[in-house]
Symmetry: none
Subunit: 162 residues, 3 copies
């Protein structure tokens, strides 16, 4: 079996710029490299949660509701509020290079299936056009935070370096 | 016709089907490469959602209920319906090369924990045998679409090129 | 700076035990390579589910509740029980090299938003300190298994070979 020399200097040349970049981002990154998302103009989390994360090629957005980022209050009007919930999700995904079309799954939570599901469908039609749409799970729950009506949780795909 | 070292006609014969296939698939892919799933024989989504997606090595299936694809109506009988819900999920995952054993997570939504959880357990035993089973979260919700009794949402792993 | 030769034999010495470990674990793997998690000291699943899976770089933990692994019974006291739910999740994630900080998303299910959400916030503050916190979706549902009060489902990032 032959011994093949590998230059340590060469190895360091390749590795050091990577290390520098890693240090620069380190404050936003978890030990395993999860990036916490806080895009400019986004709503302000009021408790122990963040708007989203990137891990590898995937972007995970927290359940979004129809909160206006400027006033940090709920938008008035059912359809306008649902539109804003999707818009908040879209904005966070976009900050990592994912469009609505790059959603891999949505989970929609609503407090009234018969009343709000049609509104969700209408808003999605507006935003996704004739599709394709992402797979969606929609359920009626007892209550959302702030007694809200609809919350949407999206997962997105945005390969690194694409 | 002139003799040319490589026949343009032959080259086109080889290349065109590939190009056509690429074009055909391109419309199914999102900008970032998310593939929308619509396997032959699957149920027909009636609103703004798709059956599933593939993104990288993962397959995301929408919440599935016990709908018969042939008639697009709910299967009668609680156990038969739950079995069909899991079967619909299984079929979509299989279309991307993932078996039930390759599930990485299930979320089961039911409208009656005491009544339907035992049925879900029985159906899973039937389908997964003695296991291992995937991690599962099961919750009782207020209402499912069409006032259904059980919905199952599965995520699967199917590495590309495996 | 000296050039230091790296021996192929040494490289193999480092790599071969890893290959052996991979073979040893093969029986826990699905056809596509999903690893079922059953860390020592974890709670015992009582039905058709497992504590978690690893697939590629991600770790998926089943919805965890405040069950004490030693007695396999629910912990008494709301805050203690919620703390235990998070602790159970943490322990499973840690078995695959993911810390709480490496969570990419949490979904919290509770049977009383007004009563238990503040407790969840307090426990998360205890565990994550001043953050960053993972994205979180919190919903009030009708019922959890065993009529429990809070269940938390976590997804984690733990790149292979990191």
């Amino acid at each position: 079996m032959q011994h093949r020399p590998v230059s340590l200097a060469l190895a360091l040349t390749l590795v050091l710029p990577l290390a520098a970049a890693t240090v620069a981002q380190a404050q936003d990154l978890s030990p395993n490299g999860v990036k916490t998302l806080a895009p400019e103009g986004g709503i302000q989390p009021t408790a122990t949660w963040a708007l989203g994360t990137r891990a590898g090629d995937f972007v995970f957005v927290a359940g979004m509701r129809g909160i206006d980022a400027a006033s940090n209050t709920l938008v008035q009007g059912d359809e306008a509020r649902v539109r804003k919930a999707f818009g908040n999700m879209q904005m966070i995904a976009a900050s990592e290079g994912a469009s609505l079309r790059d959603a891999v799954r949505l989970v929609v939570y609503t407090t009234d299936m018969y009343r709000y599901r049609p509104i969700v469908n209408a808003v999605q039609k507006e935003l996704w056009g004739d599709g394709p749409y992402p797979p969606r799970t929609i359920i009626e729950v007892d209550r959302l935070n702030q007694d809200d009506i609809v919350e949407v949780e999206g997962t997105f795909y945005a390969p690194v370096g694409r």
